[in-house]
Structure formats: structure tokens, C-alpha cells
């Protein structure tokens, strides 16, 4: 176990997961002195069911729903954020419950920024621009597709807002919500979580707390993601994947975003391909590149990926190989949903240079273009 000289870790949000978890929301909000939430529910097919489920779960509580918005949210834009902030104020709400994932949660966080800081959310983009605790926010995941939902960031009009005040206060994971996710979002949320957990564990900020969160997240993913993708309505595996995504997001909140994250975002921006798939292919390529350069993979990460059985059966020199084998095995178990390389999903070779340039520009930690090229090239070939 690596023993760091110094580290900081914020274990936020609180997590509540399992049977009848939704019914805990009123008392959690009561603990924050709130009782009149604005509820944002993911739109689209099946959203009526989600709205009914949450309303019934709040029966017999002292809470009053200020407003329940279940309209379509195509993306996180200033327009929808300020309209919903207006609804929040008009109904005298005091907290937010976001049910879903992706853009909806970004919007919920932006509404929270607008009502708490009393200025447009776009003006708060950047790092550490939020000066105070926001209104209490509960996140109820369906599928955490972007990986930012339970983390300390939100996007508005393509700009990132980063602050530990943006982590939700409570994440409530209940199978009545997670089992309504479709195959695609389940896969994307799992792959994003995999990449975030691995990158946090190999980052310069790695510490025993990050390792603990990454371990839990990666073991859940290795054991349950293929089952959840095959049958997204399965209660046990859908809850496991949602847990893994939330745990990875907490690890990700405490570590700088890594190379795979920036490269995947750059590729997804230009091609419309899901960032989660790109991220997973890139993180595998990143680990393979480290192996090829004889940099090795940390024992803690090898244990998380390979699992106790495979880890202890492998000789010390073969543990990194066993960890990579476990990732390959999981990708194979995902079947046709998981491509073998960036090439297979239609990324052109010309696009790679562009993505590297954008990633280097976006990263505050000054990524090396040469290293990025080596990783993205390997992910493109699928080697």
C-alpha cells in the first residue's frame, strides 16, 4: 500500500442504496432544513413512470413538491437553466431532486448555482468560482452516463464549472429507477466509471481513499457490468452499476482528470461518438502503453481489476498482465456493444491529431502531445 506524505480527500456525497432507498429522501432533506424540492425528472419514454414512482415514494412525508418538471432537456444550456431557476423561485422551492443522468443533472446543478449565487450559471464556469454551499441537492441516478453527475462538476453551454459545492449532497440509488435505464446508457455509464476510477487510481493524487473508492467501483463493474448490459432491467446488476458510477465519480472528484478523459471528450465533441466508449478504449490503451514503457501498473489497481482470486494466483511479475486480461475479458463479455478499437467506431486517423491538440489545450496539467499520440494511436488500432 502506497503511504503518501500528504493528501486531502472529500467523501461527498452521502450514498443511500438499496431496498426502499427513495423513501429516505424526505428525512434527508429534513436534515438540511428543506422540505419543498423542485424535482427534475428525465424526459423521454418511461419518464411518466419515474415521476409517479418518486411522487409515491414521497407519500406520508412532511415534504411538499414545489414543482415537478418532466419536460425534455436536450442539453445543458443557459436558457433551460434560467427558466428552471425561475420555476424554482416562483414555487418558493428550497432544494432540488434530480432524477436521471447526463444533461438533466448538469441543468439541475446549474439551476442550483443560479438560485444560490443569484447570478447566471455561465458566469460561474471555471474552477472554484462558487463561494458558498448551494441548496441541498439529491441525485437519484437512472444511468450516470457522463460520469460528472455525482462528481464535483457541471457543464453549461459546453463550459465546465468545477467546485466541491457542486457534488450532490445525497445520492439515492434504488432499483425502481436504475432498472428503467436502457442498454446504451447502462453501458456508457459503466465504461465512463471504469475510466474515471482507473485514471484516479494512477493519477499523481492517488491516495488510500481514492484506492478504496476505485477498488469498490472497479470490482462492481468487473463483476456486474456485462450482466447489466445484457439485461438492464435486472435489479441487482443495475444497482451495482449505479453504485460503481457514483463511487468512481467521488474518486474522480478528488483527482485531476486524466489523459483518457480529455482525449475522449475531444473525440466525442468532434465525432458524436459516446465519450464513455472512447474513454474505456483509451484507458485500456493507456495501461498498455505504460506496460510497454515498463512503467508498470500499481499493485492496488491490479488487485481492483483482476480481483483477489486472479491477483493472488498470478506471480508478482504477472499481475499487471492479469489486470489487463481482466479488462479485455470484461470487454469481450460485453459482446457486440463494445467495439475493439476507435477505428471500428468510425474515428478517422486524421481526427486523432485534432483530438490530441484539443485535449492538450483543454487539460490544465499540460499533457504531452507525444504521449497522447502514443495512447490514442494504440486505442485506434485496438492493440
Amino acid at each position: 500500500m502506497q503511504s503518501p506524505n500528504y493528501y486531502e480527500f472529500l467523501g461527498r456525497p452521502k450514498m443511500i442504496s438499496g431496498k426502499r432507498a427513495l423513501e429516505q429522501i424526505p428525512l434527508e432533506l429534513e436534515g438540511y432544513g428543506a422540505g419543498r424540492p423542485l424535482i427534475l425528472v428525465q424526459g423521454g419514454p418511461g419518464s411518466r413512470g419515474l415521476a409517479d414512482t418518486i411522487t409515491k415514494a414521497l407519500y406520508d412525508s412532511s415534504l411538499v413538491i414545489g414543482a415537478l418538471y418532466d419536460g425534455a432537456i436536450a442539453g445543458s444550456t443557459s436558457g433551460i437553466a434560467s427558466e428552471l431557476a425561475g420555476l424554482f423561485r416562483a414555487r418558493k422551492c428550497d432544494s432540488i431532486i434530480a432524477i436521471g443522468g447526463g444533461a438533466l443533472v448538469d441543468v439541475a446543478k446549474c439551476v442550483n448555482m443560479e438560485v444560490a449565487e443569484k447570478k447566471p450559471a455561465l458566469g460561474l464556469s471555471g474552477e472554484g468560482k462558487i463561494s458558498r454551499e448551494l441548496k441541498p441537492m439529491v441525485l437519484v441516478p437512472v444511468a450516470l452516463v457522463s460520469g460528472n453527475e455525482a462528481a464535483n462538476r457541471a457543464y453549461i453551454d459546453g463550459a465546465a464549472c468545477i467546485s466541491h459545492f457542486l457534488s450532490p449532497d445525497v445520492v439515492v440509488i434504488d432499483h425502481r429507477m436504475t432498472s428503467t435505464a436502457e442498454t446504451g446508457p447502462t453501458l456508457y455509464s459503466g465504461l465512463t466509471a471504469l475510466a474515471h476510477a482507473v485514471e484516479a487510481a494512477i493519477s499523481v493524487s492517488a491516495n488510500p481513499m481514492i484506492d478504496a473508492y476505485a477498488y469498490a467501483s472497479l470490482r462492481l463493474l468487473c463483476e456486474q457490468l456485462p450482466a447489466a448490459v445484457k439485461k438492464p432491467s435486472d435489479k441487482k446488476s443495475s444497482v451495482a452499476v449505479a453504485n460503481a458510477a457514483a463511487l468512481a465519480a467521488i474518486a474522480f472528484s478528488n483527482a485531476p482528470a486524466g489523459m483518457a478523459h480529455y482525449l475522449a471528450e475531444a473525440l466525442a465533441d468532434g465525432t458524436g461518438i459516446n465519450a464513455g466508449i472512447c474513454m474505456a478504449l483509451l484507458v485500456r490503451a493507456l495501461l498498455k502503453t505504460r506496460m510497454a514503457e515498463k512503467k508498470g501498473i500499481r499493485e492496488e489497481l491490479c488487485l481492483a481489476l483482476a480481483g483477489p482470486g486472479m491477483f493472488s494466483a498470478a506471480p508478482a511479475s504477472g499481475r499487471a498482465k492479469a489486470a489487463l486480461g481482466a479488462i479485455d475479458g470484461m470487454f469481450a463479455d460485453l459482446g457486440g456493444m463494445m467495439p475493439g478499437s476507435l477505428k471500428e467506431i468510425g474515428v478517422t486517423q486524421e481526427r486523432l491529431n485534432e483530438a490530441v491538440r484539443e485535449a492538450v489545450k483543454a487539460s490544465p496539467s499540460k499533457l504531452s502531445a507525444k504521449e497522447c499520440m502514443a495512447v490514442i494511436g494504440r486505442a485506434w488500432n485496438g492493440k
Binding site: Q24, L27, T55, L58, L84
Partner: protein, 181 residues
């Protein structure tokens, strides 16, 4: 955006579930009173509690509740369902109706529900644990073994509670609970 399309919603009530819980609490409350006169362990637990002790067990925030107190002779006394105006040093609230249903349909034992943080305890935790031990014993008397084994932390062995003592105790406790003495 037309705000009128998104009106305020006042969540409803789960009446049938609340009635079921109320009946269960009534039976358990009267059974505790009866068990204290029949079972030595329950008697001892109440003797060890402070004079004037009472506890309320129910569902947050609107009930139903059951209140059981300790009389001057150190025996348990069922004090009804309404906590208003009563001095209750220990309040054990189950966080919501659904969690209470899990406990009272024996899908979760009291000990597991405690461990899963489904209870909020206001008062002395040592007294709360004594109450949980009493509840466990009362459930052993009230329920057939198959169900009680799900509801309690550890079902007592023969050496701790012989079948004869258990069955005789069960008849007496049910009779006293129904008749209310």
C-alpha cells in the same frame, strides 16, 4: 415556460399500510405489557430501566405510534398510541412507512433495520438496545418460529427458552394482550 404546467404537489397518504402498522404496534405494545408479567428476562430488562421511563416506537413523521412505560413497580405498561402530552425519554422513530413495513412484515429484523439506519433514536442508546432486546423476545413469543427467526437477531436455543415455556408463555401473552391486563 408556463409555470402553471408544473403545479405544487402535496404527496398523499398510504392509509392501508398505516392501518396495518397501527394494528401491529397495538398488538406488540399490549404484548410487551403481558410479556413483562410472564417472562423473567423481559421483567429484568424493565426492572433495570429508570423509574418513570417510557418509550415511543412509531413512524416518522405522522405515526402511528405505540407508547410503553415503566410503572412504579418496574413493570411494563402500554400507554396507548398518542405521544401528545406524555413525557417520553426515549423516542424510536422508523424513518418512513415503507421501512416500517419491512420491519413489521418481517422482511427485515429489528437488528438489521437498526444496522441499516432505518431508525432514528432520540434518547439513551443503552435504553434503546434494551427495548430492542425486549422486542426480539416478544416477537419470539408472538410469532411462529419460521417467521420469528426472520424477525429477530438470533432465535433462542432450547436451553435458553424451552418449548414448553415458550408455548405456555405464548398462550398467556396472547390472552393478556387481547384482554389488556
Amino acid at each position: 415556460m408556463n409555470y402553471d404546467n408544473y403545479p405544487e404537489i402535496k404527496p398523499g397518504r398510504k392509509t392501508i399500510k398505516r392501518i396495518y402498522i397501527a394494528v401491529m404496534l397495538f398488538v406488540v405494545g399490549r404484548a410487551i405489557q403481558a410479556a413483562c408479567r410472564v417472562d423473567e428476562t423481559v421483567k429484568k430488562e424493565f426492572k433495570n430501566l429508570k423509574d418513570g421511563f417510557a418509550f415511543a416506537l412509531g413512524v416518522h413523521p405522522y405515526g402511528p405510534w405505540m407508547i410503553v412505560g415503566r410503572d412504579a413497580k418496574g413493570r411494563a405498561k402500554y400507554m396507548g398510541w398518542n405521544p401528545e402530552g406524555k413525557k417520553i425519554p426515549l423516542k424510536m422513530s422508523i424513518k418512513n412507512v415503507e421501512s416500517a413495513i419491512l420491519v413489521f412484515t418481517f422482511q427485515e429484523s429489528t437488528a438489521v433495520a437498526f444496522a441499516r439506519n432505518r431508525f432514528v433514536v432520540n434518547g439513551d442508546l443503552i435504553d434503546a438496545l434494551a427495548v430492542v432486546r425486549v422486542l426480539d423476545l416478544v416477537e419470539v413469543y408472538l410469532l411462529p418460529k419460521l417467521i420469528a427467526a426472520l424477525a429477530v437477531k438470533r432465535y433462542p436455543k432450547w436451553s435458553e427458552l424451552s418449548p414448553v415455556r415458550k408455548h405456555v408463555g405464548r398462550i398467556v401473552i396472547y390472552t393478556r394482550a387481547l384482554l389488556g391486563f
